[in-house]
């Protein structure tokens, strides 16, 4: 009987202690209590996660994509035949990933939505130029019969549009190519490849271009109606 009473009283003491602790916790949790020294005992913490539009287009199967934002194909021949970077989907000659920034792996490319919004993705590029403006030597990037193409998984090869008129040919396509439509957060599309060709008469040398991969928030700017289509951004 005494044991039971002792146990009950101990339980009462613990309950009182817990209630007092909870009272203290409640008062501090409302941000009402600050310590005498000015430190905040506890205030309500609000966290806002800003919606972000983001993506990445990079070579597959690699751990360091920062080495793959520039890739190289070459040397290529001037017989008008395609040189593919990975050659999984054809191309007479396979490419070589041999640039300074490359990792010597010639893999297909992958697109991934790393933001917090569903996205549409379009692609365009400048012409490949040897750095000497006015010498007439360039590899033409053009929506209509250009010499630079991208392989879109499930769609096939498509001409990449020219987004720059401040170059040798002075031609710019207004439309750009859709490579992903309504890509949800975290989703990936694998199996992109690119290929290029040069024609007889093109001088030997190093030719560079900037490929621009742009994303648009599908909910507000539903720019793509379908993958492989050319759209006016």
């Amino acid at each position: 009987m005494d044991e039971k009473r002792k146990l009950r009283e101990t339980q009462h003491a613990i309950a009182l202690f817990v209630v007092l602790c909870m009272l203290l916790l409640f008062l501090s949790g409302t941000g009402f209590i600050t310590s005498p020294l000015g430190y905040v005992v506890n205030t309500t913490i609000s966290v806002t996660i800003a919606p972000e539009l983001n993506h990445i287009f990079y070579e597959e199967e690699l751990m360091n994509p920062s080495r793959d934002y520039v890739f190289q194909i070459g040397p290529i021949t001037t017989d008008g035949l395609w040189h593919s970077y990975n050659s999984t989907y054809g191309g007479v000659f396979a490419g070589y990933d041999i640039g300074t920034y490359s990792d010597n792996n010639t893999n297909l490319f992958k697109l991934r939505n790393t933001g917090t919004k569903t996205i549409d993705v379009i692609i365009a590029s400048s012409d490949f130029d040897n750095g000497m403006i006015g010498d007439g030597n360039y590899i033409d990037v053009n929506q209509f019969g250009g010499d630079f193409q991208i392989y879109i998984p499930g769609t096939g090869w498509r001409n990449v549009s020219d987004n720059n008129n401040r170059d040798e040919d002075g031609i710019k396509n207004n439309e750009e190519l859709c490579i992903a439509n309504n890509l949800v957060v975290g989703a990936e599309v694998s199996g992109f490849d690119v290929r290029i060709r040069a024609w007889p008469g093109t001088n030997h040398g190093n030719y560079t271009a900037h490929i621009m991969v742009s994303v648009f928030e599908s909910d507000t700017i539903d720019i793509c109606t379908g993958v492989g289509e050319y759209v006016l951004p």
Binding site: K6, E9, T10, A13, I14, F17, L20, L23, L27, F32, I33, T34, S35, P36, G38, V40, V41, A50, P51, E52, L53, N54, H55, I56, F57, Y58, M63, Y69, V70, F71, Q72, I73, G74, P75, I76, T77, T78, I98, G99, T100, Y101, T114, G115, F128, G131, G205, N206, Y207, T208, A209, H210, I211, M212, S214, V215, F216, T220, I221, L232, P233
Partner: protein
């Protein structure tokens, strides 16, 4: 014993698995990202013809480009008709590999020339590498291509006729000042590890006088001690700027103010580029828009606006909503009234009729016991200024409450402990009594 060992082993195994899982998550989340934007969309609501709208965006660099990028901004083809109505400032920014984000502003102006109705502005930062791709082949033809990744920003707005209703931006829309801002922005360029100069200047300056002065702060935020800094102002279209071009020595952590005396404005909008140089290395530059309202200089009025309260008390470390009553004490209507609380808020009040009052609300939070916030009111007809004095509420009652709660806690603990001890001693005594009785009984039994 075996059981205990087994439990420990299971716990260790779980802990290792958990740690591995967390590490995996960290690696995965840090793996790959491109050039992102925040926010990707702003609904600016209605802009009255003739007014302007200022929005802030942020480019987030989550991709470790090993080379610096030059970011410029380009309207998409569909938005190109707004080319004359949009100014990006700064117009271009260099994103170094260690820069994780860059803020920039978009000003919609000349809205009197825009048709009424809805407009949708879409633009992209265009990142171009500042270094050429170095290829390791000089034979035949070798091609290289940079993959530049960017994201589009969108800004939706309606052009409303003068006298129309100016809609407030919704609460779910990211904060953006709705009108010309005098809020100070900081453009910071780190040239080397040790050199770090910040130029603090008004991103947008609205001229209210024929001769205007604006103060710029140049701050040395690096560890390098500059000995020969100079400043240069380039104006476009040209207007007169008088200033002391020699800053001289500026040691680590120091800052100096340069006053620009401006006059001879020839256009509604001017563009001022601020260039700071140390004479040896690269310079730091930034840009400022100078807006000259098309009104008669003689009509400029001052001190028409008064506000109340001017002294307020808030809770420490708590974001508190402040409501100011803003009144027009002059006999003429004031148009396009903007309130700028230095580094805190920029609010557009719109038009304010004579002797009329408007309520403005904004949030404030501070840790200092007392602080003064300069407040400017800029309107088409002139400007007013004042000071908002904010002090923290005394924490006396909070201290009393804490002490009371602690004392209650301690008293409760002592009470519980005493009760426990008391019961224990009573129980012991009872035990002793029982034991004694039992012994006596035995004796009796022995006697019997």
């Amino acid at each position: 014993m075996f059981c205990l060992k087994n439990t420990k082993a299971v716990f260790l195994k779980n802990a290792v698995f958990f740690a591995f899982f967390v590490l995996l998550l960290i690696f995965e989340s840090q793996s790959v990202f491109g050039l992102g934007v925040i926010p990707s969309y702003i609904d600016a609501g209605a802009i009255t013809q003739g007014d302007m709208h200022l929005s802030s965006f942020e480019v987030i660099n989550r991709f470790d480009y090993p080379v610096p990028l030059n970011l410029t901004f380009e309207l998409t083809h569909s938005s190109s008709y707004l080319k004359e109505n949009v100014i990006f400032f700064p117009s271009s920014v260099v994103l170094y590999p260690h820069n994780k984000s860059k803020l920039f502003n978009v000003l919609i102006m000349d809205t009197e020339h825009l048709p009424l109705g809805n407009h949708f502005l879409v633009f992209r930062p265009i990142p171009i590498t500042l270094e050429d791709a170095v290829m390791n082949s000089s034979q035949n033809i070798t091609t290289a291509s940079y993959i530049m990744q960017t994201s589009a920003f969108a800004l939706n707005f309606d052009i409303a006729a003068k006298g129309g209703i100016v809609e407030e931006v919704g609460e779910d829309v990211p904060a953006s000042p709705s009108m010309p801002s005098d809020s100070m922005i900081v453009i910071q360029t780190i040239e080397e590890a040790a050199k770090d100069i910040a130029i603090i200047y008004p991103s947008f300056f609205k001229v209210a006088h024929e001769n205007e002065s604006v103060s710029i702060t140049v701050k040395n935020e690096g560890s390098f001690n500059f000995t020969n800094l100079t400043i240069r102002i380039i104006t476009e279209p040209f207007f007169n700027v008088e200033y002391n071009s020699v800053i001289g020595a500026l040691f680590s952590g120091d800052e100096t103010k340069v006053t620009l005396n401006m006059s001879g404005f020839s256009s509604t909008y001017h563009y001022a580029k601020i260039v700071v140089s140390d004479g040896v290395d690269e310079w730091v530059e930034a840009s400022m828009i100078v807006y000259v309202p098309d009104i008669s200089r003689a009509a400029v009025l001052h001190d028409c606006i008064v506000f109340e309260p001017q002294n307020i008390k808030i809770k420490p470390n708590t974001e508190t909503s402040i409501r100011l009553s803003v009144s027009n004490n002059c006999d003429i209507a004031l148009n396009n009234v903007n309130m700028i609380v230095s580094n805190i808020a920029t609010k557009n009040i719109g038009g304010l009729n004579p002797k009329n009052t408007s309520i403005v609300e904004f949030l404030i939070s501070q840790t200092e016991s007392y602080k003064e916030y300069p407040i400017s009111f800029i309107y088409d007809e002139g400007a007013s200024a004042g000071v908002l004095r904010v002090s923290l509420e005394s924490g006396f009652w909070q201290i009393v409450l804490i002490l009371f709660a602690f004392m209650l806690l301690i008293a409760g603990g002592i009470y519980a402990y005493k009760r426990f001890r008391k019961r224990k001693s009573v129980t012991s005594k009872l035990k002793d009594v029982k034991s004694t009785k039992h012994t006596k009984g035995s004796r009796r039994f022995k006697r019997v």
